[in-house]
Amino acid sequence: MAGSRIKLELSRVVQGKSRLGVLKGLGRTGQHSLEVPGCLLYTHFGTVPHLTQDTLHTLSNLSSVTQVTLAEHQEVLEEFKDGFKKFAGLHDTVLYCSLHDPAAPCPPGYTTNKTVSVWGSGGRIELTVAKFMALQKTVRPDWYQSMADGETWQSNTSRKRVRKSVDRTLAHLDECLLVHQNSQELQGVEVFGVVEGGDILEERVRSARETAKRPVAGFCLDGLQTGSMDQALRTQLIAAMTKELPEDKPRLLQGVGRPDEVLACAEAGVDLFESFFPFQVTERGCALCFNFDISPDPERAGRAPPAGVVNTGETQPNGDVTLDDQTQMTSFEINLKDKRYQDDFRPLVGGCGCYCCQNHQRAYLHHLLVTNELLAGVLLMIHNTAHYNGFFSALREAIANDKLDLLKRRVLGERGGQTERKE
């Protein structure tokens, strides 16, 4: 594993922090790549929520990395033998296997020295390192997250508990690596080490420093998810961790998906994000509509979501941004169930090139939502995924062209005071 094939080629680092580059050598034969900052493709068991292959492939610029969480289906995969990608009909993607589903709740209180618990449709599954590694051998992902004790995200967690989680996670990693190195089946598969440390700076630094000593291909930054802390603290912790991490390995931030938080975290040095946010927006019947157009071309600017979206009151202001419940609507979306869209014959976002916006109108989506029709989820998921991907392209463009401040102003929509509050 010392010869990890994953290679991060950075083309730009702004102020020693925000990084622009390409993650190369992904997949068993190393033929895939992913631009950073970028996001993974969020799935339920290998399927982007609500979408079939037809509807998924109306989307261009899909992430080349599919994220999956699959502890509960070990038995069938063992029987199948050829790995999850083939089982799920995923032919041309890089598979990343994470421990938890970032959009599903993970009740605390089930972690021991030797085990962690994950939750599937059938309830709790307790994993030891042996079981966890047996799972990886049947899944055969291209890369996976090592087993970790990530229960320390709650703000009242004691220093002792945080220290224990760092120690356990490092112990798990060492055990995982040991099994990994002796497994024929896992040759060419990459391991991401997990950095813990709750909200305690020294523990974050220690976790990052120690993990970086191990032969891992990249790092998962855990326990920083939306709702666990405010962005100022998150930024501070990320900056402290990334200082300890090698330049040439990717950093994946878990549990953060809101555009404002993504911007701040990418600025602090995060390369990869999970893309569960568009799914959450879809589930509440909303459409992403925030502006991210930083193009100097005035003609193109007109095609972006109207800056006035916020001012006309179409989106709802959210209170304290950082402490929001994840299921609550944010100011980056419009609620299409709202009666005002009943006779609105415009696309969700003017100028959006997604299948939904090219073919359907807000009034139709409103109708599908109020009548509980399944197509609502399909069309919203298409749009929200397209919009979110577009945002990440803009983020890369902004880093490349020194326009991060402009992008921030666009995304935050010059919402009075909010920018200041977060900084």
Binding site: H44, P49, V76, F87, N359, A363, Y364, E373, L375
Partner: protein
């Protein structure tokens, strides 16, 4: 002429004229000529070209030319109740080869309402479906879904389930809504009586349906671009059916539906009413058997001379994990498929079968709604393919053989054949081995 809300009107009037000319070139008999003249006199935006007729059964293969596109019959029409086909995009539906689907007037009239749909350029515009649409009258749902409904000569009175307001669905109102929806085929409001009811109520309903047909015809604001079909009623009583057929076929409507069946009656009664109806319906007009969608029923009723069918069954059952296959159905959620790595049907060419195994779909049902979409796509593909094969066999003059092969595959042995199907097929000269 009404000011049109359809941007494509000009193009489809043109299409229709071309189609009529085509029909004229094809018809030689005086009878056909007469009906053609009749058709021209009301300028109904429909023409039917009979491509082939089975020499043994009453089956036929036709091209039904409708305002938005041609439809190859026999045809199964999937049901998109509320302006959407359960989780499937219009592009997917088009990709499966669907040429016509249904919308429900009752549901759409309630939500989002006819005014809004009219503003959206009709149901075609609202759901962005480029091919043909058929809408029902709304009467059936009213009787089946709404407990508090009352039928009078004026129409069907019922309480809105949304705001409790009393609403009257008259023939005029039904057509007015369907005019707003802009469907290619509209259905008359009929007086629907459960097919298990007998006695004077059935006769009353039959006569009322005839009177309502006349009111519907008179109320149609768009006879030049929307076809209005009559619905044959008369319950399970042959005399009443015959009387209804006599009366209704005297009206110059573009097509006929056989109604009041598929409501839990004995299959022996069902097929006899179907075959009686097709015996008396004009050859040159399409025949639509309402509410029929099981594979065996489709094949038998094609043999009895029906052209068009609709049913919610294939899409509804899909959402419960039931996949249709040539040997019946396969319950994807059942444990026995948890480790079955074959596709649903190894011979099926649908997007689902080409990519996914039974085991994957089984597991996906626990995680995501996309599992339902996969089965829905497969089931629509199954229905459409079945009808394509039926048509092909009629065109190639081997429909009786097709039926025999179909039945053999569907049932494990001869004694599993439903007796009604055996009888019905025997009545059109097809004996099963």
């Amino acid at each position: 002429m009404q000011p049109s809300i359809f941007s494509c009107l000009a193009s489809y009037v043109h299409y229709n004229m071309a189609a009529i000319v085509e029909c004229g070139a094809d018809s030689n008999t005086a009878e056909n000529h007469m009906s053609l003249k009749k058709a021209l006199s009301v300028a109904s935006p429909l023409s039917l070209r009979i491509i082939a007729e089975c020499s043994v059964t009453k089956a036929r293969a036709c091209d039904l030319i409708l305002p938005h596109s041609a439809v190859s019959t026999p045809v199964f029409m999937p049901v998109g109740t509320q302006g959407t086909l359960k989780g499937i995009t219009v592009d997917q539906l088009e990709g499966l080869g669907c040429q016509i689907c249904l919308g429900n007037t009752y549901h759409l009239g309630m939500r989002p309402g006819p005014d809004l749909i009219e503003k959206a350029n009709g149901l075609h515009g609202f759901m962005n479906w480029k091919r043909n649409l058929l809408t029902d009258s709304g009467g059936f749902q009213m009787v089946s879904l709404v407990e508090l409904s009352e039928v009078t000569e004026e129409g069907v009175k019922f309480k809105s389930p949304y705001d409790g307001k009393e609403i009257l669905l008259s023939p005029e109102k039904s057509i007015s809504i369907q005019n707003s929806l802009g469907s290619d085929i509209m259905m008359q409001l009929d007086d629907v009586v459960s097919s298990t009811v007998t006695g004077p109520r059935v006769e009353e309903a039959m006569h009322r349906s005839i009177r309502w047909l006349d009111r519907c015809v008179a109320a149609n604001k768009n006879p030049h671009k929307q076809n209005l079909f009559a619905i044959i009623q008369g319950g399970l009583n042959a005399d009443l059916r015959k009387a209804c057929l006599d009366e209704m076929t005297r009206r110059d409507v573009p097509g006929f539906a056989i109604g009041g069946l598929s409501g839990g009656e004995e299959k022996d009664d069902f097929w006899r009413m179907v075959t009686l109806s097709t015996d008396h319906l004009p050859r040159e007009k399409p025949r639509y058997l309402m509410g029929v969608g099981y594979a065996v029923d489709l094949v038998v009723c094609v043999a009895l001379g029906c052209d068009m069918f609709d049913c919610v069954f294939p899409t509804r059952t899909a959402r419960f994990g039931s996949a249709l296959v040539p040997w019946g159905s396969l319950q994807v959620k059942h444990k026995q498929y948890a480790k079955d790595f074959q596709p649903i049907d190894p011979d099926c060419q649908c997007p689902t079968c080409k990519r996914h195994s039974r085991a994957y779909l089984h597991a996906l049902f626990k995680s995501d709604t996309a599992a339902m979409h996969h089965i829905t796509i497969h089931n629509i593909a199954y229905q459409l393919n079945l009808m394509r094969s039926v048509r092909q066999s009629i065109v190639e003059g081997r429909f009786p053989e097709f039926i025999r092969t179909f039945m053999k595959r569907m049932f494990s042995s001869r004694d599993q054949y439903p007796s009604w199907a055996v009888d019905a097929l025997a009545s059109v000269n097809v004996t099963l081995e």
